[in-house]
């Protein structure tokens, strides 16, 4: 049974409003931090909590905060990354839509800890209505003196501004986001220097994901140690998982780290099993950028242990037989899904969203896409499978930002685990011409290892 630290009150009617949020324990953590704690105390609690960045990379938040250049005279900035656009991920949208004040409270506490006086929330442009919701919540917070000058008489001042994106996945990368915030093209910056030293307007900057900042609220509320007691190993606390694809109950679920993947997929409390009673074929557990795993490897690691919803367990087996928790965009494929078509689909995404700044990514993503299209449509050649592996390997690790890796991994992993499907496409062009061919060729599915209990 998972506990809900972030989403406990999410279903209360009117929780979007300041008064209702406040009546249900809202802004208590902010008051506690501002009135009873020092900035260093807050940072210490966050470090103790073991909180890791919820945007995808899983970098320890306390450590990230500790890098912030505090010696300089220049202003420091906190930027909230609400440019959620990883395919399969919709947790931040859910959180902001229902609990805008939770994010604002998280921003207040974090700004206090970091000595920040201006925050920006960078919301992707497509979430226009979310901007409206946040705007209203920010106005309310100003009215109740949780924002503005001399907050609650503590002498602290803080402004939060909203900034819209305009349709660019790459702006979820923190330095691209900063460029975009400065009114430029969303080209990721070359690092070093890191944003902690030279970020927004060349000033020290921390960029955190929405869920990360929201998680600061319960951490201050319950204490870092209590938060760290939840979960397994270095995956502490709770995580929002956005489950989608061929499952009975798609949606955002808050889980304790350490929940077995099998329970997450099949229990009624979460995904509720595979839609229409079909079999599980594969899962992309952390948004489209992480390697895809076939059912057998998803449920159990190659050592035969149950795979858990933690950063470490997901990565068990490395790239050969493991994957990553990423942003928690849990995409489930049933037995009728065509992995080739899906891989092509993802490469279309990466081709479209590449910023085009560095050569491996610009040229590589645009090279893989038409090859996969040909294979999917039954016009591929068998040597092209190896060509794809080679291109993916040449993009990976050679780009400015992690986008190149994100574009290469889905292709490399799909071919690694579902090579027979790619070969099937090349050998049976007449079958794959049918758009529903995923449900026609059952042979690749049978080769997927299912745990006996699920057959």
């Amino acid at each position: 049974m998972g506990r809900a630290l972030l989403t406990e009150n999410i279903l209360i009617p009117g929780i979007r409003d300041f008064d209702v949020y406040r009546a249900h324990g809202g802004y208590v953590s902010a008051e506690k931090a501002l009135k009873e704690m020092t900035a260093a105390d807050v940072c210490r609690e966050v470090t103790k909590s073991g909180l890791r960045g919820r945007g995808g990379a899983g970098f320890p938040t306390g450590l990230k905060w500790s890098f912030l250049d505090r010696k300089t005279e220049r202003p420091r900035y906190l930027v909230c990354n609400a440019d959620e656009s990883e395919p399969g991920t919709f947790k931040d949208r859910y959180l902001m839509e229902h609990l805008p004040h939770l994010l604002i409270e998280g921003l207040i506490i974090s700004s206090f800890a970091l000595g920040v006086r201006s925050c920006y929330i960078y919301v992707r442009g497509e979430f226009k209505y979310i901007i409206g919701i946040l705007k209203r919540a920010i106005d309310e917070a100003y009215q109740h003196n949780f924002l503005g000058n001399n907050i609650l008489g503590t002498g602290l001042s803080l402004d939060i501004f909203l900034h819209p994106g305009a349709g660019a996945y790459i702006c979820g990368e923190e330095t691209a986001l900063l460029e975009s915030l400065e009114g430029k093209r969303g080209n990721p910056r070359i690092k070093p220097p890191f944003p902690a030293f030279k970020g927004l307007y060349d000033c020290p900057t921390v960029v955190n994901n929405v869920e990360t900042l929201a998680a600061v609220v319960p951490i201050i509320g319950m204490g870092g140690d209590a938060y760290a007691a939840i979960g397994v190993g270095k995956s502490t606390g709770t995580k929002l998982i956005s489950a989608c694809g061929n499952i009975n109950k798609p949606g955002v679920y808050e889980i304790d780290f350490g929940l077995p993947v099998e329970d997450f997929i099949y229990s009624e409390q979460y995904c509720g099993g595979i839609r229409d009673g079909k079999m599980l074929k594969a899962v992309v557990p952390g948004g489209s950028s992480v390697p895809v795993l076939p059912a057998g490897l998803m449920l159990n690691t190659v050592k035969g242990e149950q795979r858990l919803m933690t950063y470490e367990s997901m990565a068990e087996g490395g790239f050969e037989t493991g994957t990553m928790l990423g942003s928690g965009g849990f995409i489930v494929f049933d037995e009728d899904a065509c992995m080739v078509r899906n891989t092509w689909n993802f490469t279309c995404f990466y081709r479209h969203e590449s910023c085009g700044q560095c050569s491996p990514c610009r040229e590589g993503t645009a090279w893989m896409e038409p090859i996969l299209k040909r294979i999917e449509l039954g016009e591929g050649k068998s040597k092209e499978i190896d060509l794809l592996v080679s291109i993916a390997a040449k993009i990976e690790g050679n780009t400015i930002c992690p986008f190149g890796d994100a574009a290469a991994w889905p292709v490399a992993s799909a071919i690694r685990h579902f090579r027979d499907e790619f070969e099937f496409h090349i050998d049976h062009p007449e079958i794959v011409k049918n758009i529903e061919h995923g449900s026609i060729y059952k042979y690749p599915v049978s080769s997927i290892q299912h745990p006996a209990s699920l057959r």
Partner: protein, 321 residues
Amino acid sequence: MRVTIDDITVDVEEGTTILTAARKIGGKIVPPAMCWYSKLKGSGGKCRTCLVKVAQSSAKDPRPMPKLVASCSTPVQDGMVVQNITSPEVLEARKAIVEFLLINHPLDCPVCDQAGECDLQDLSFLHGMVETRSEEPRREFPAIDIGDKIKLNMNRCILCYRCVFTADQITGKRVHGVLYRGDAPEISTYIQNVIDNDFSGNVIDVCPVGALTDRTFRFKSRVWFLNAMDAHRDCTHCGGKVTAWMYGNEIYRITGRKDKYGEVEEFICNECRFEKKNFSDWIIEGPRKISRESVISANHYEKLIKPSIIHPIEGTTEKQE
């Protein structure tokens, strides 16, 4: 700070990049650079041809860096150990980058004015594959004139952004930039504005490929047929120090004085570049030193017949080679 690159150790100042340190050592261990330009602030990091392996991050932290890094934009640490040509991984990556840069390149060197002094040509010669593995159609753009002096062949562009930085930093008012994104970006003025500025001609010199070329020199001669001479004049706009590309006493074109890495020593003005083409405009200092590896130094001026008076007489054309 002490840094070791391909087993050669050099002392450099703090803040120096790996590439600059390598240039201090010189020779074959210098990573190639297609987008970084020492005189343009903010350039570099984009083309990825200068990737190197950091086998040891610093004396304090002897761990290797997990990924290859762009040597042009990574500052050295004391005790850093870098591998360039001694790392098979780096050479493999460089080969990959060259392949990526070429899959959309038209390979029209035979009709490109940049041939002979093209960084991409040199890079392909050193690291390129014999055949292409790509069967996809190449990106195509029509060639356009930006002003009466500069030709833009977007097909050849490798998107190094150098010309954008030049326009920003040298010309003050930028009218061109990189438009669109992903695999479809292009250098453009969007509404085909003319780039009109006293120093706009420098975009030709900084372009590592034949994307931006000098219209006043278009198809006039192959660069290796010409004699590169350092020359100067009193100029009210710039330092007036140029390289005059001559045939006999005739000046075919004027460029900035480029060093062995293809970088100009000083930016020059458009008047010097485009308008002063008379022998009498310049004080000739002497031959420009051109790298022995360059095709330009392989020429034989004395045996050549001036291109404008070539007659199709049997036998003569063979002798020229």
